[in-house]
């Protein structure tokens, strides 16, 4: 058995990652699980959370925030189809906190119900991301 798994991360816009990984932590909707080489075939939906990819050469794992989608483990590897992927290393904590604060103000300022709903959704999304970052 090989000591790596083929890992693909796909968003609707493009193929984001196509590498051999040593292990991948997936935020499944019924709990996080780590996929190691030789994992049994699983199909799971994912909840918004962080995917941790440990590459074969060792080193720091790359952390990516994913939202909406599912993970599929087959004998060939792991495929994660996510609607939204954000590389956590690309966003700074301060920036994020600023955005969360802005979104909070938007909710306060919203005049119509529709505006309010959208603002609340945006806030919830940012809060999730901020939590994942910290």
């Amino acid at each position: 058995m090989s000591d790596s798994i083929h890992f693909e991360l796909v968003s609707p816009e493009r193929l984001l990652m196509d590498i051999a990984a040593a292990s991948v932590v997936v935020p499944g909707s019924e709990g996080d699980f780590t996929v190691l080489p030789g994992h049994a075939p699983v199909m799971s939906t994912i909840r918004p959370g962080v995917v941790e990819v440990m590459e074969t050469g060792g080193g720091e794992p790359s952390r990516l925030f994913v939202r909406g989608g599912f993970a599929e483990v087959t004998s060939e590897g792991l495929v994660i189809l996510a609607e939204e992927v954000i590389v956590l290393a690309d966003v700074s904590r301060e920036e994020l906190q600023q955005k969360v604060a802005d979104a909070g103000e938007d909710v306060e300022d919203a005049r119509t119900d529709e505006e309010k709903r959208l603002a609340i959704e945006a806030l919830a999304r940012l809060t999730e991301l901020a939590e994942a970052k910290s």
Partner: protein
């Protein structure tokens, strides 16, 4: 005899038109490359989605309580036709081709006594359909503010369609768009969205169930993974996954269609502008020839006047 000055202004005006068409062609070519890349980059996701869905669909096929998005409502009375066109003109027969195919379908459906509803994406399609089928248009989507199509732009459209389906406003939904084959050829395609047309399976119809029962075999774009006799563990269970997957599949399919459409539009515009540029240069050649001949004729007649004047002395 045509005036020399008239001819000159004529040549100038054709030249400036040619400059514009040439520029538009170049812009379309660069946009085409980007649109094509986007369309190709989106294919892995759609392909994976299709293969996962067909696997899942095969495993729940024939069971009661299939989600309506997959099995349909059991009726085929009301059809929702989504017509995806461009926001801008000057792209050859692109919009007309799509609208023509859609109209043909509408006529066929109405001939069968079905009710047709239209959802137009893009201003140009609305303009062409409004006169004849204005009463059928239930909604229009304007994407003219969108520079490069993102998944988030498509989701509201998909949600709207899902909400309509949830309210029982239609039974079958299909989308008309132009599939990008090359810069020269775009194929107008009809793609059924609801009930989900899963490759290798005629949307859960019984006559096809037999072939699908043989394991997780399917005709999806990516070959089914070799499970070596083992079966998937589903987390949560199959039905629940299918419930979340099917609406998402709709957005993905729509997104893919619109990306293809965007690439086709640019390809079509590029070809149209290329031939317009060529036409302009043909015209300039013909006009220049005429201009030169006229000039020569003027000189000749002036000479004759001078000579005959000198002879008369």
């Amino acid at each position: 005899m045509a005036n020399l000055k008239d001819l000159k202004t004529r040549i100038q005006s054709v030249k400036s038109t040619q400059k514009i068409t040439k520029a538009m062609q170049m812009v379309a070519a660069s946009k085409l490359r980007r649109a094509q890349e986007a369309a190709e980059a989106a294919r892995p996701y759609a392909g994976r989605m299709a293969s996962v869905l067909s696997g899942l669909a095969a495993s729940v096929a024939g069971q009661p309580g299939m989600p309506p998005l997959l099995a349909g409502t059991g009726r085929e009375d009301v059809h929702l036709v989504i017509v995806a066109t461009s926001e801008r003109g000057l792209c050859g027969g692109f919009n007309s081709n799509i609208v023509r195919a859609a109209k043909k379908r509408i006529i066929a459906l109405q001939g069968d006594g079905k009710t047709v509803k239209l959802l137009c994406i893009g201003r140009k399609g609305v303009a062409q359909l409004k006169s004849q089928y204005g009463a059928l248009i239930v909604d229009t989507v304007d994407l003219s503010h969108v520079k490069s199509l993102a998944f988030a732009d498509v989701q509201p459209i998909a949600e709207r369609v899902l909400a309509m389906f949830g309210d029982g406003e239609f039974d079958v939904c299909s989308v008309f768009y132009a599939r990008f084959k090359s810069a020269l050829t775009q194929i107008v395609t009809e793609h059924q969205l609801i009930p989900a047309a899963i490759s290798g399976q005629a949307s859960g119809q019984d006559d096809d169930a037999g072939t699908n029962d043989a394991g997780n075999e399917n005709g999806g774009e990516t070959p089914p993974p070799d499970l070596k006799g083992s079966i998937y563990e589903y987390e949560p269970d199959e039905e629940e996954i299918l419930q979340t997957l099917l609406p998402r599949n709709l957005s993905v399919q729509l997104f893919g269609a619109l990306l293809e459409n965007a690439a086709s539009e640019q390809g079509s515009r590029m070809t149209a502008m290329d031939s317009a540029t060529r036409n302009a240069s043909d015209m300039i050649d013909a006009l220049s020839l005429k201009y030169n001949r006229t000039r020569q004729a003027v000189i000749t007649s002036e000479l004759i006047e001078i000579i005959s004047g000198a002879e008369a002395l």
